[in-house]
Amino acid sequence: MISSAIQRSAKVGRRLLAVRFTYRTQRIVFIYSMLGVPLLYFLVTRLVPIVYSFNISVREWDVLSPEKPYVGFSNFAALFVDETFRRSLANTFLFVAVGIPGQLAAGLAVALLLQSATRLRGFFRTVYFIPYVTSIVAISWVFRWMLMPNGWVNAQLLNLGIPAQLFLQSPRQAPFVVALAMIWQSVGFQMLVFVTGLEGIPRTYYEAAQIDGANAWRRFRHITIPLLNPVILFSAVIAGISYLQAFGHIVSMTQDGGPLNSTRTLVYHIYKLAFKSFDMGSASAATVILFVILLAFTLLQLKVLDRKVDY
């Protein structure tokens, strides 16, 4: 009896082994055939161009001239000496510093409001999401038009007795106005991300906390925020990457990098270098710097915000 059982299990075992053996080769074939084309694609469309870009950055590369002599790191040095470039770095960091908290706070606020709303949820979700699907150019032109010194917004302010503001004409206000427009356009997306995250928090936690006597604020601080941490991290990283590369809104809302270069971001500076000054060498050097910043930023975020959560 036992021996036949052993015999049977041996047979099964052998059969499984055989199955697994052929499976191994089949698996490998499957894996590499699935990965082959995409990997090649990434090599050609991402890796090679990056390397090529590094190459351009160490040369004096004028679009119109046939000579492209190697100049070492002088493009980089020249950038850091250039006041406008340093300004563009400062502006970019300003956008990040304003944009990330602004977007996250606004998105979270709307998500929380939506959570506790029982009716019309679908309606609200839809409406708030609409700006996200619209083109940056179109929205920027509308804002630009509305924020003119003698535009609609100022007309309303004047009616309320508040003096007219310069908005996009003012070097102090312009970056905030543009950042606000960017936040406005992303609130819907952020809200959805948070709504999803919030729905992932089991109700039982809240109920338990309520039984223990915690009020809304404490529930928020000690349950919601910690459990939303991965979502917050994800959002901060994605938002940061986007604000570090702010460009579309700036090009359409302001001219020439804004009054006194106040909305001139890094990408805008790169664009100007490449297509107005025809200086590809410096432009590429600046993109390398941007790349380093992005990398550092992402790694930093991952380190700082990635905390393990104890249940």
Binding site: T45, V110, V133, V142, W145, L192, A274
Partner: protein, 284 residues
């Protein structure tokens, strides 16, 4: 009657007041969100001489700006171009990203981690760094100003791979193994078991991919040359910058309205699916 469970809750009356405040805030947000669109649309109905009228309702209203718009620029063509590009990109992204995400999530093999990190790290490379080399490559291959040249950089998305991989890793491997033992080969396992399970994530990916392709600006701007080939964002920029100098602000608003309508319409039609998809995908 208050129980111990009620201690942490606010009393009913206060709760109603809170609800009212919540809804009020939400509606205020709706106004802030929709107002620019209303303004845009209202401006498009104004007559040119009322350029600086700050009233919301145009009077007299006119539809002639729309006729002017299509006469001045091939907006219809631009919308068609953009749609084609968006659809093709989305299909390609779905195919490739899902397969790569699946392989990276569900299989162990040499170099798996390196490959994944490599793909993710490409996310951090700013597009600006790539467009000049892309352009030179495209022109060498005579692909500038063509659909193919335009599509090439967007066919596979690292973000999509990331998304699908994250989603796939939460799929129960037992199901897949069971299918294998039943004799299905790897391909069938993928297509018949894995894919149906990740449909929500695929929907999300499709939508995000479509939207981002539609609104894409930098690469189409560089690679497209002839007016008839422009996509909507590119056309809109040329159109606006030309008009801005000739005081054509009303037309710019008209153009802006036209350029946001297609996506909004699509969004409204598919909104249930879209929102479900994004919500269900869970951003794990």
């Amino acid at each position: 009657m208050q129980t111990s469970a009620d201690r942490g809750r606010t009393r009913p009356v206060a709760q109603d007041a809170l609800a009212v405040i919540r809804y009020a805030l939400l509606f205020a947000g709706v106004v802030v969100t929709l107002f620019p669109f209303l303004w845009m649309a209202a401006s498009s109905l104004k007559q040119p001489q009322h350029l600086f009228d700050m009233g919301l309702i145009p009077s007299p209203a006119t539809w002639s700006n729309y006729a002017d718009l299509f006469k001045k620029a091939p907006f219809g063509r631009w919308i068609a171009n953009t749609a084609v590009i968006a659809v093709v990109t989305t299909v390609s992204v779905l195919i490739f990203d899902t397969s790569v995400g699946y392989v990276l999530a569900k299989f162990q093999f040499a170099g798996q981690k390196v490959i994944f990190l490599f793909i993710i790290s490409t996310l951090m490379v700013p597009t600006e760094m790539l467009i000049i080399p892309w352009y030179l490559l495209a022109s060498d291959l005579h692909l500038t100003d063509t659909y193919v040249g335009l599509l090439l950089p967007g066919l596979i998305s690292a973000f999509g791979i990331f998304l699908m991989r994250q989603f796939m890793s939460s799929l129960p491997s037992e199901l897949l193994d069971a299918a294998r033992i039943d004799g299905l080969n790897e391909w069938r396992v993928f297509v018949s078991i894995a894919i149906p399970l990740v449909k929500p994530a695929m929907v999300t990916l499709a939508i995000l991919s479509f939207i981002s392709s539609w609104n894409q600006f930098i690469w189409p701007f560089i690679v497209l040359q002839t007016e008839g080939n422009y996509t909507l964002p590119v056309g809109m920029v040329y159109f606006s910058s030309e008009l801005k100098d000739n005081s054509g602000w009303i037309l710019i608003m008209t153009g802006a309205t036209v350029s946001v309508l297609p996506l909004i319409a699509l969004f409204l039609i598919f909104q249930k699916r879209i929102i479900q998809g994004i919500a269900l995908s869970g951003m794990k």
